[in-house]
């Protein structure tokens, strides 16, 4: 019998993590993501895992990476200001290629902003929050079931590709309670990073392999390798040689291009004949879904394009979905972040933003109004 | 010894801190007091802590004015340690003095002048036999070994008192009575025996040398095995910081004209490892290989 329960988005992230094999969580309390930590504190000891509440956001990111360096599947969760604080160590995880999953439940900003109100203001920060060019994957679930399944997918990607994965949800999705069938969501397989198992002699922790994802040397297995946030050679030791440094950096970003098929995930609805495509993520995309139905009922050929993987942005899928569209509308709970990427990719299309930063979710009616304006 | 016509009898007791110089002189002073003499005892101690020189002048007679014995006027020199005996030998009356010394050697730390591992300490080279040729009467005895044979090293002082008893006109019983009052009750028997042994040893004649006495604790080899030291410098790692040059106790390293450390006095190197331990660049390696001494 299906195991249908009422579950909150934040808790679904925690259960998804456990199902994906996460055995270490380090966190720090912050609204509106604290339920993730609370659920992990409850669930992890039951499976012999480790939960620790660290002294601050920076430390919790550091401890998570530290545990991952030890070979465990790890996660942390945060929100708004906490996500800002985690950025430096997030960059470390990207540069040193340490697998980790970060849940960011977006709230109003800047600064303390509106802690209990939803926003989607971290779309650009999730991509470019840490300094320097770096590889990162950002997933954007739009339902409680997806909070679970996308967290599972986040673990699959981070473990498979050795790149940090951010699960970016807004406060509405995080605190939303929906009925889900956990059995149906349960992952059929567990993806774990490839640990180095060859000879220790001459082992290079960042060797260029066919899949561009070097095997992970687990401490204690005899490799005694060096891990650093400095730009490093395949040997793991720092370099400032221009060509070698560039090659090392480019490999970490190129590996995402190489594995684009694995990473990319979108929901495309009714775009085939659409004159107008609503491109959006999270709770705004759900409003967009309702708006599409409303517009269709009024005779407007509208479609929905919803990235589940927001970064790297699903460029080809967007272009395919908007091929016949005259206009694209991008509703988002910020002053226009995702719309910049859509404009960049669809240079010859009429792209329109719909921003909102008042601490309320965007309604389907607002989208319908905006689409009507655009088509007028 | 006949009582001197002029002035008091002088006994100089010397040794190093911790041996019991003061105790020996107190025994003697008490004995003289018991016989109605006027006694003056003058001592220097405490400055030297354990291991440093200690001396005590004991003068007794019908009347004693000065507390200290002038150079060349000691009737008996009692030395609890060999080098101290030699240090004070000029206080002894060359015509009438008697020399009583334990051949035990206690090497002071500052006598370790050669810092080679296992090197011998600087110490008086004269043998007891050589010294004995130049004194009128005397006993160079291994009092410590005699006491050790009796079961207590500390009784060496009493062995020397036994030898001293031959030079002074007090009865054996008088000596034993005083000694009994000074030593701990449980070691009375050993001290009685020690006194008898010492007295007996010195009755053989005016001079006697224990030819077998070796002295103790002189050879550094007893403490440290001799080694051959190899000092290697990895020049590519040395940054010329000067730490090894300045910290070397033997000053046997220097910087060459490339400002790289080099060993310029290999013979002075003792293999102490100071340079190796303090080199921040791990550029110095010391290997100390024990030298196998040929079997005797």
């Amino acid at each position: 019998m299906a195991k249908r329960i009422n579950l909150q988005g934040n808790q679904a992230c925690a259960l998804g993590a456990i199902a994906a094999g996460c055995t270490f969580y380090a966190g720090y309390p912050i609204t509106p993501s604290s339920e993730v930590a609370e659920a992990m504190a409850r669930e992890l000891p039951k499976i012999g895992g480790t939960f620790i509440q660290m002294e601050d956001e920076i430390a919790s990111m550091g401890a998570a990476i530290g545990a991952s360096m030890g070979g465990l599947k790890v996660m942390t969760a945060t929100s708004g200001p906490g996500f800002s604080l985690k950025q430096e160590n997030l960059g470390y995880a990207s540069g040193a290629e340490i697998p980790c999953v970060i849940i960011n439940v977006m709230r109003g900003g800047p600064s303390t902003g509106m802690p209990t109100r939803p926003a989607q203001g971290d779309i650009m920060q999730a991509r470019w929050g840490t300094h320097g060019d770096h590889a990162i994957i950002v997933l954007t679930p739009a339902s409680v079931a997806e909070c679970y399944s996308e967290t599972v997918r986040a673990f699959e990607l981070t473990e498979r590709l050795r790149v940090p994965v951010v699960v970016l949800i807004d406060e509405v999705i995080g605190h939303l309670v929906e009925t889900v069938d956990l059995d149906a969501l349960k992952p059929s397989r567990l993806v774990t990073r490839k640990f180095a198992d060859g000879p220790a002699e001459g082992f290079e922790p960042y060797a260029v392999t066919d899949d561009m994802v070097p095997p992970f040397p687990r401490p204690g297995d005899g490799y005694r390798s060096h891990t650093t946030g400095l730009t490093h050679l395949p040997s793991g030791f720092p370099t400032q040689n221009p060509s070698k440094a560039e090659a090392a950096l480019v490999r970490t970003t190129d590996k995402l291009d190489l594995h684009a098929d694995l990473i990319e995930a979108v929901e495309v609805a009714e775009c085939d004949d659409a004159d107008v495509v609503i491109a959006s993520v999270g709770i705004s995309a759900r409003a967009g879904q309702a708006a599409v139905a409303d517009l269709r009922s009024k005779g407007v050929k509208a479609g929905l394009f919803r990235p589940k993987t927001l970064w790297p942005f699903p460029e080809a899928a967007l272009k395919a979905a908007t091929k016949g569209a005259k206009a694209v509308v991008v509703p988002e709970m910020n002053q226009g972040q995702m719309v910049l990427e859509v404009e960049r990719l669809l240079k010859n299309k009429s792209v329109h933003g719909l921003g909102k930063i008042d601490g309320e979710a965007i309604t389907p009616a607002e989208i319908v109004t905006r689409v009507t304006e655009v088509l007028a | 010894m006949a009582e001197k016509k002029n002035g008091p009898t002088n006994v100089l007791i010397v040794g190093v801190g911790g041996q019991g110089v003061i105790m020996v002189s107190k025994v003697l002073a008490m004995l003289c007091q018991n016989h109605g003499y006027e006694v003056k005892q003058s001592e220097v101690h405490g400055m030297a802590k354990r291991g440093g020189g200690v001396f005590s002048h004991v003068r007794f007679g019908s009347s004693v004015w000065s507390p200290t014995i002038p150079v060349g006027e000691a009737d008996v020199l009692v030395a609890l340690e060999w080098a101290e005996a030699l240090r004070w030998i000029n206080y002894m009356n060359p015509q009438t003095g008697t020399f009583i010394a334990d051949t035990q050697k206690i090497v002071p730390p500052f006598a370790c002048r050669v810092r080679d591992r296992g090197a011998d300490a600087m110490y008086s080279e004269e043998t007891p036999a050589e010294i004995m040729e130049n004194v009128r009467a005397g006993y160079a005895m291994d009092a410590t070994s005699i006491a050790e044979d009796l079961g207590n090293l500390k009784a060496a002082n009493t062995v020397l008192l036994g030898a001293l008893s031959n030079s002074l006109e007090f009865s054996v019983d008088a000596w034993l009575e005083v000694i009994r009052s000074f030593v701990p009750p449980k070691s009375i028997d050993i001290n009685m025996e020690a006194f008898a042994k010492g007295r007996e040893w010195a009755q053989a004649g005016p001079k006697r040398v224990d030819e077998n006495a070796k002295g103790r604790g002189v050879s550094g080899r007893d403490l440290h095995k001799q080694v051959e030291t190899k000092l290697e410098i990895t020049e590519e790692w040395c940054k010329g910081c000067d730490i090894c040059v300045k910290m070397c106790p033997e000053r046997c390293l220097r910087l060459n004209d490339q400002l790289i450390s080099e060993l310029h006095k290999p013979d002075a190197c003792t293999g102490c490892r100071m340079c190796e331990w303090l080199c921040p660049d791990f550029a110095i390696k010391i290997t100390n290989t024990p030298i196998m001494e040929p079997a005797e």
């Binding site: 012999g48 480790t50 002294e55 790890v74 204690g220 891990t227 946030g229 | 910081c241 300045k246 390696k285």
Partner: protein, 280 residues
């Protein structure tokens, strides 16, 4: 006190990455001496290099991990204790040693230090105190002596200093000690006891920055700085002696605190066992 279990003679070349040598530290930098003492302690305890994890932060001290032939992690500025906390909890089979500096652990990472002391997780933190931010060119640090010149205190340092050991002790570290580099064997023994201690151990090493700090303050070259540091130390034997005028011996050295508070990792694992219905 745990005595040496490895009787073989210590050879530093067995514990460093020879292909990374010579290291990048300035001539006369005391950090190298401290690293020798640390590896010597590791050797005497007979710790398997494969089971040794060295975690460091940023700065001159942070670079040391790269020279240790072990599982080494050069992390972010001030955060090595946070990374090490995760690593030590995840892998109780590893010997986790953190190498950090005065700026790294007292300024930017001060919060992690006090909480690591409080938590008492089994690891050793060796803090190299050279009173300066050397890597960035010589800025004032939380331990820069009063009135000393740095690039950011051109008229002399007017801020008070941190006593790192007092801080660690107050925060509850299981083992706290301090030593100067000149006393390299004493430092080795202190580190050995620290690593052997079951809980969080903190060792402050008074190191010299000759090239930047020493030069700017006319403190002499390395041997002179090391000797003056030694002259200022107050070993355990001096604890109860009266101060000598003009020779304050203010720097308390040796083991300064030791307690047997429960080690956090074991406490947590016991709780997990209880929840899972195992054990007592």
């Amino acid at each position: 006190m745990k005595d040496s279990v490895n009787e073989a003679e210590f050879q530093i070349n067995d514990y460093i990455r020879l292909d990374q040598m010579p290291h990048f530290l300035c001539p006369g930098c005391g950090h190298g001496i401290a690293l020798r003492a640390l590896l010597w302690a590791v050797h005497e305890l007979g710790i398997d290099k494969d089971k040794l994890a060295v975690v460091s932060g940023i700065g001159c001290s942070g670079r040391l991990s790269a020279y240790v032939d072990a599982n080494s992690f050069h992390t972010t500025h001030g955060r090595p204790l946070a990374f090490a906390t995760g690593l030590a909890l995840a892998r109780p089979d590893l010997h986790v040693i953190v190498i950090t500096g005065d700026g790294d652990s007292l300024a930017i990472g001060g919060n992690h230090l006090i909480h690591a002391c409080r938590r008492n997780l089994n690891m050793t933190c060796m803090m190299l105190n050279n009173e300066i931010y050397g890597m960035t060119g010589g800025q004032v640090s939380p331990t820069t002596t009063s009135n000393r010149y740095t690039t950011t205190t051109p008229a002399g340092n007017t801020e008070p200093v941190f006593d790192a050991c007092a801080l660690a002790t107050a925060a509850g570290a299981g083992f706290v000690g301090r030593e100067v580099t000149m006393q390299v064997t004493g430092l080795k023994n202190l580190l050995r006891d620290a690593i052997a201690h079951d809980g969080f151990s903190f060792v402050e090493v008074i190191s010299d920055c000759t090239e930047i700090y020493g030069r700017k303050n006319d403190l002499g070259v390395s041997p002179e700085m090391m000797l003056s540091q030694k002259a200022g130390m107050r070993p355990e034997a001096y604890r109860n002696t009266v101060d000598v005028p003009f020779k304050p011996n203010a720097l308390e050295c040796g083991m300064l605190a030791k307690n047997d508070r429960p080690e956090y990792g074991a406490t947590y694992r016991a709780m997990v066992d209880r929840i899972r219905g195992k054990g007592a």
